[in-house]
């Protein structure tokens, strides 16, 4: 939807325009303002950065980005933007935009034509398939690609080339949340939506620096506390962060030792009588992770987890655990929120389960103000990769490659043979890059992501990436990955292409194409169709002429599933501010709470009097897990006595490819740093801004010390954004055995003055 504001002289548009052209406040000059306003067209789109899904209006004048502002009609952000989204339009024209293809010749990347670059890719991929088979190829995508792009790549690699080596960076951030949702509730993604925030009086935030990583959600929490003075927030995190400003109770745990706390809270909820026994009877099963157990077995299992035991594990006060349990139990509503601090752990799936346990025990689920609500890191991790099935074991529409019927359904939609889709899952991300180091994977197509900076234990994987035939489809160059690529394909950026993003709350939203692609860049979808045709799969791909063609086919894969998007047609999405699935028909408004009577797939006949029926489980019951607590893979030791955790800052996003181009954002934290607790700094003889050397078993980094009361004593934190200071040289590549997500959040290190 394009909104012409020719006659709209309100200050918003004027000021946004001014921000771009940089003149004196236009409100002082009404004639000038009116003149400048002429011809500006505002396009409805969605923010390109984190997973919150904020609506954005992108202003265009004379075919060029002109200004930006929050979309006040969007229900998520209601016109608010964070500091990163605020500069999106300037990222479109950043100096590091890649405007033409590059190919490696004599060791150097040089300018090439599209035809030359695509010929090289095609010839090399054909050669690899012929000599080493399809599993010697891999696709590595992103939670930032649009659904249509990711869907096409998934379709090409799994359905035509015939390899399940299809992964994406959500494996590094959200895979544990997926594992948690599927094992506890039977299906991925939250039961409620952001709408629950305004009904909730008790928030449990664990492993999330919401204020910096999801600022607009944080702003909604600030507003909620303002509107409801009785609203309380419990915070479980190893650091004091800007999130603490609205926190009522902080359990500042040792990194990696919070599982016992969750069990202890569950134990206390039962002891204090805060459980919803009818809900448990109606809608909950119990399991030890292998076999079913009874409620009594579960209670017996929890006996070990006294507040004292859990407090000792986590290095906190037992009284705080009791207090947290009572706050959770006493409030009629409760909403949990978490992110990387929970997911990027070797026990990530278990910890997700333990959060869900609290909601299942108390029945605080599936009603206003109650949800176990995972925050997402990327704008389309949920939509493109999780829903689109673009991980090595998945197929679109919450299907899996291991299921014969699922392969059959998808093969028919993909117009390919069911035998072409392999039944065995491909390699997960870390295994994929490990295979590259061993020479088993010989060619890789990387779309819209930067693994040469974002993988853990980088020193182990960089040599393999350099040896692999690497094709990188990117809007920006150089990145750490494009620098070592064999072919770099310039692709259109946000605002230069049309598509759909699916955000944290199951909401799919349309992104408008507002300007033409920069330079010679092309839409990823066009590039993938071109590659498919060159590889000999014309018949399977030639009918895709537009993003809408791809979306329409994708909708067929969701029809009749728990994530039915059939009613979310392009025509409709262009008009509304997104739709929350399941949305089975074009007159369906979308679904607030899944598995309840408001869910179009709620089986009233089977459910009877049950308030919730988890229809994706055979008996409609969710699962409470009794799994023992577990510490980090690499505990501190005599040689490496300090816990290292990694994190994010408000002003930067991921590997700084985009936000690093904005001088204002760089000013907020101009140099890479490590946060050190003042007491530690004193005992280590380190002063603020000293250079220090941080060493783990995997490598060393010399970095500036930021002495600040944020981490607990014995813990340091390094933000992972800066390409000139690769934090992931230090991180460990041990993965959760269920989700295969690496433990970026905990490692053992030593710190010394450099």
């Amino acid at each position: 939807m394009s909104i012409s504001r020719r006659n709209f002289l309100k200050a918003s548009a004027l000021t946004a325009a001014a921000a771009v052209i940089g003149v004196e406040p236009l409100t002082n000059s009404k004639v000038l303002a009116a003149a400048i306003q002429e011809g500006v067209v505002w396009h409805k789109t969605v923010c390109r950065l984190c997973g919150v899904g904020c609506g954005v209006m992108l202003g265009v004048k004379d075919g060029k980005p002109f200004g930006i502002k929050g979309d006040k009609e969007n229900t998520i952000n209601k016109g608010i933007l964070c500091v990163k989204g605020f500069y999106l339009h300037r990222m479109m024209t950043a100096k590091n935009r890649l405007l033409h293809p590059l190919v490696r010749k004599d060791g150097k990347l040089v300018k090439a034509s599209w035809d030359e670059a695509m010929n090289i890719v095609t010839s090399k991929f054909k050669d690899i398939i012929q000599k080493d088979g399809p599993d010697a190829l891999a696709f590595y995508g992103s939670g930032q690609g649009q659904t249509e792009e990711t869907y096409l790549a998934n379709r090409l690699f799994k359905g035509y080339i015939g390899t399940n080596n299809v992964e994406g960076n959500p494996r590094l951030c959200m895979a544990s949340a997926v594992g948690g949702y599927i094992s506890s509730f039977g299906a991925d993604e939250p039961i409620g939506t952001y709408q629950d925030i305004e009904h909730c009086n008790l928030f449990l935030i664990i492993g999330s620096n919401t204020a910096e990583a999801h600022p607009v959600v944080f702003d909604r929490l600030v507003q909620r506390k303002k509107d409801s003075p009785s609203c309380k927030i419990i915070f479980i995190d190893p650091r004091k962060t800007p999130t603490n400003r609205i926190v009522d109770l902080h359990l500042q745990v040792k990194p990696g030792y919070d599982l016992a706390i969750m069990h202890a809270i569950a134990r206390q909820l039962i002891k204090d009588g805060y459980t919803d026994e009818q809900f448990i009877k109606d809608s909950v099963n119990f399991s030890n992770g292998k076999d079913p157990i009874t409620y009594d077995d579960y209670k017996a299992f929890l006996e070990k987890y006294t507040p004292e035991y859990a407090a000792e594990q986590a290095g906190i006060q037992p009284g705080d655990i009791i207090k947290a349990a009572r706050m959770f139990g006493e409030s009629p509503t409760a909403m949990s929120m978490w992110c990387m601090g929970v997911n990027q752990r070797v026990s990530g799936v278990f910890l997700n389960n333990l959060i869900h346990n609290l909601h299942l025990l108390t029945g605080k689920l599936g009603k206003p103000g109650c949800d176990s609500f995972s925050l997402t890191g990327q704008p389309n991790a949920c939509g493109g990769v999780r829903e689109g099935g673009a991980l090595s074991h998945l197929l679109p529409g919450h299907r899996v490659v291991a299921n014969e019927q699922h392969r059959k359904v998808i093969a028919e939609i993909w117009k390919t043979s069911p035998d072409k889709i392999q039944p065995k899952p491909g390699k997960h991300t870390v295994a994929m890059f490990e295979a590259a180091t061993k020479g088993e994977i010989k060619g890789m197509y990387i779309l819209c992501t930067n693994p040469a900076q974002s993988l853990p234990n980088l020193n182990k994987y960089l040599p393999g990436m350099k040896d692999t035939f690497l094709v990188v489809a990117e809007s920006f160059h150089p990145t750490e990955t494009s620098k070592i690529a064999d072919v770099v394909l310039p692709v259109s950026f946000w605002g230069e292409k049309e598509g759909v993003y699916g955000c944290t709350e199951r909401r799919s939203q349309h992104l408008a194409k507002a300007v033409n692609p920069s330079g010679e860049s092309r839409w990823d979808g066009e590039v993938l169709v071109d590659l498919a045709k060159r590889l000999g799969y014309s018949k399977g791909f030639e009918h895709f002429k537009s993003p809408e063609d791809i979306w329409n086919e994708y909708l067929k894969t969701t029809a009749g599933t728990d994530m039915d998007l059939s009613g979310a047609t392009y025509d409709r999405l262009k008009k509304v501010r997104g739709l929350v699935w399941p949305v089975p028909t074009t007159d369906h408004p979308g679904t607030w709470h899944r598995f309840t009577s408001g869910d179009p797939y709620f089986p009233k006949d089977k459910a009877g009097n049950r308030r919730m029926y988890f229809y994706v489980k055979p008996d409609g019951k969710a699962v409470i897990f009794a799994r023992p607590d577990k510490g980090p893979e690499e505990p501190v030791s005599a040689e490496y006595p300090v816990a290292l955790t990694t994190g994010r800052i408000l002003e930067q996003w991921h590997t700084m490819t985009m936000t690093g181009q904005i001088p204002e954002l760089n000013r907020a934290a101009p140099v890479p740093y490590v946060e050190i607790n003042p007491e530690d700094a004193k005992s280590w003889g380190i002063k603020n801004r000293d250079k220090v050397k941080v060493t783990t078993k995997r490598g060393s980094l010399v970095i500036e010390a930021k002495v600040i009361d944020r981490t607990r004593k014995g813990t340091v934190m390094i933000p992972w954004h800066w390409p000139e200071s690769l934090t992931n040289i230090l991180t460990i590549d041990a993965v959760d055995p269920g989700s295969f997500e690496p433990e970026y959040k905990v490692a053992a290190c030593k710190v010394e003055k450099a």
Partner: protein, 126 residues
């Protein structure tokens, strides 16, 4: 005396434009028009880290404001300081984020968001 004053004024105006156009390729901004320039400082230090020492009252006022609560820093209104700087924060950018609080100044006696909202505390003072 009058000639002297006019001469100084002319030089000042000329300098203002000179300073302005020297940066005009990147940011033909209000800072240029007004000739604002941030003192040359150690740019490896963030705004707030430095201003906590230099202008502690202002940082305190900001820190206690809604912007401070959500950590929206100095650069939003003042620029990065080095490439672009507005010594007096402009309200050009307010509605980039606050599109829901639009004001048609033509229908008011006001010219700026800051006519009602104090610059750092953001408190509504009329």
């Amino acid at each position: 005396m009058k000639v002297k004053i006019y001469s100084i004024l002319c030089i000042a105006v000329a300098l203002t434009f000179l300073l302005g156009f020297s940066h005009s390729n990147k940011y033909p901004s209000s800072s240029i028009i007004k000739g604002d320039k941030h003192p040359d400082v150690d740019w490896t230090v963030s705004c707030t880290d430095c201003h906590m020492d230099v202008t502690p009252e202002i940082v305190k006022s900001w820190n206690e404001s809604r912007h401070g609560a959500v950590n929206f820093g100095c650069y939003i209104c003042h620029g990065d300081g080095e490439e672009v700087f507005y010594s007096k924060g402009t309200d050009q950018r307010c509605s980039g984020c606050h599109a829901g609080q639009e004001v048609n100044f033509e229908k008011t006696k006001l010219n700026s968001c800051f006519d009602c909202h104090d610059g750092h505390s953001l408190k509504f003072h009329i």
